[in-house]
């Protein structure tokens, strides 16, 4: 059997995985597996009946549907020609992701000024060219802008300065 469409192959697998994932966590692990291990691995939720649907009912139905559709996509991948999966570019993916994480987890301890600067620097590193001077100017402008607009204008409850500075110069 030859895979004619790499794209469909992986898309199908992804849908099947998501479908089974939701079914597994809605229904809980099957009994034989629990017996094998000796404990209830994933408790699951109540199925209920079709009259009174429990919390597991709809997710299980949908998860099943999703898995079936995934299977159809998978079958299609050996039947009809399709495109290759385009190349993944890991550089922007990683740095863009990291920059939003850096901002999120630095904001409370370090304040808006440093967290924004961190975001700008890290995300700029994911681009095609990284010029220190440019990025530095950009981060200064953006920091001033976001302090003025978001903290002063829209009154978001963000700390401006780091925790360890007792008297913040910007108020």
């Amino acid at each position: 059997m030859k895979i004619k469409s790499q794209q469909d192959l992986w898309a199908g697998l992804m849908f099947i995985a998501f479908g089974l994932f939701f079914i597994l966590f809605a229904m809980g692990t099957p009994e034989f597996l629990d017996k094998l291990v000796g404990t209830r691995l994933i408790p699951g939720y109540q199925m209920g009946s079709s009259v009174r649907m429990g919390p597991a009912y709809f997710p299980v139905v949908l998860g099943g549907l999703l898995a079936v559709l995934g299977l159809l996509v998978l079958l299609d991948s050996v039947v009809s020609e399709g495109p290759e999966v385009p190349k993944f570019h890991f550089r922007p993916l990683i740095w863009i992701g990291l920059s939003s994480l850096a901002f999120a987890y630095l904001l409370k301890p370090l304040g808006l000024v440093l967290a924004s600067a961190a975001l700008v620097f890290v995300s700029a590193y994911g681009g095609h060219e990284f010029k220190w001077k440019e990025v530095a100017i950009m981060s200064v402008v953006l920091v001033i802008f976001s302090v003025l607009v978001f903290v002063k204008g829209l009154a978001l409850p963000f700390p401006i300065c780091p925790d360890f500075i007792e008297v913040c110069p910007i108020r």
């Binding site: 009259v51 709809f58 997710p59 550089r91 863009i96 939003s100 924004s116 095609h128 950009m138």
Partner: protein, 518 residues
Amino acid sequence: MEGIFGNLAIGFVEVFKLQPVTMWGMTLQHVPFNIIMCLIGCLLGTLIGVLPGIGPVATIAMLLPVTFNLSPIAALIMLAGIYYGAQYGGSTTAILVNIPGESSSVVTCLDGYQMARQGRAGPALATAAIGSFFAGCVSTLVVAMFAPPLAEVALKFGPAEYFSLMVLGLVAAVVLAHGSLIKAIAMVILGLLLGLVGTDVNSGVLRFAFGISELADGIGFVTVAMGMFGICEIIANLEQKESREIFTSSVGKLMPSKEDWKRMIMPILRGTALGSALGILPGGGALLASFGAYTLEKKVSKYSHEFGKGAIEGVAAPESANNAGAQTSFIPLLTLGIPSNAVMALMIGAMMIQGIAPGPQVMTERPQLFWGMICSMWVGNLMLVILNLPLIGMWIKLLTVPYRYLYPSILLFMAIGVFSISNQPFDCFLMAVFGLLGYVCVKLGCEPAPLILGFILGPLMEENLRRAMLLSRGDPWVFISPSKPISMGFLIASVALLVIIAAPSLRKKREEVFVEET
């Protein structure tokens, strides 16, 4: 007719209402706050819509948090303004740079860009603005006329009808998605499942939260939208080398010539009519409208040989149609509470955040809000014409800003917006995760838009399914029983749509249409 004008009067009073406003510690007594929000919305929307590589969905998602602190009416007026502005900005980039800011201005590229290359960018931009404005006026009236009767019908819907209607809405929306139909349906279902994360309203059970306390209220809808559209678009844009060809110097005079006026009148009328009609359909909206109008115009116009070489009809018709369609697609949203496309899904999300349950009761329970929003559509369109034609030079300057300056700013605003929702780092983390998911999906040929629709409708669908099944004592045939003809009709229509689209001959045609577009 009288009823309509009475209702529109309520709306205009609301839009122009003077109210006290407190800002920066100062309180001003008589401020036309709603109209100012409309203006800011239009400006921001155009500003971001003009920037290449950011579509209206990402624009609205990015600016949603700005509206959190506003009153519901001001927030919705501003969002509607952002939407038109983004759409308008999209056509500007289509004409000047040959990059459609969004899918519905793809056809505008064909003739608009050619006009720009012939040094007639000014008239092309003006035609787009005039056509859009005319279409906006007409479709505002259409919304005002059709919304009340539809809402009245919808008020009689029970849970079975609602469930079936949502199925139809999702199917119709999927049929119009690009690429594979099965993948689009799978994306809808994945969206529905993700919408279920959080506390189950009926049983109070925490579902799919994995012990993460931040997930108790479910996944934030803004978070998903920003991740799947915003982050994903940025990453995708960074993959490509920057190359843009801009006609900065050759915009020339704006006013179309007498000949141009003569040639654009009929296409604008036809485009408006077709756009208004197509926009009302579930799954319709701006995209279908602009494609339909371009095709129609090419068939009926006596200048059809000029199409693709800079025919003014090829700008006037689709631009009027997509604006008309964009507005009338508010009808299913406002009367039924069903989003017909990703932008409308964002509007529903915004309404929910403001504590308004979208649906037919909005019109009767909050007439000011309902009619105020409809009137703001017209005002917003007027503002776009008045503001944007003089400001065109500024928008062109913006086009020349390199992407490496733009994306860190966009990213920062998105991160601040998402963080501000619940003041926790976890939402930004989720945004990054959804950015990754969106990126993977795009690489695997799965459009993210259907997922957002499903995500919004997930909890609603489950709720209505449960109620319908409870009322029918567990009989699944309730959805297609003769005692519920409306529900049966919706389901038959959905199946018919799927069958028609899956039929081999049409499938080929559909693929051709979408290939042409991309």
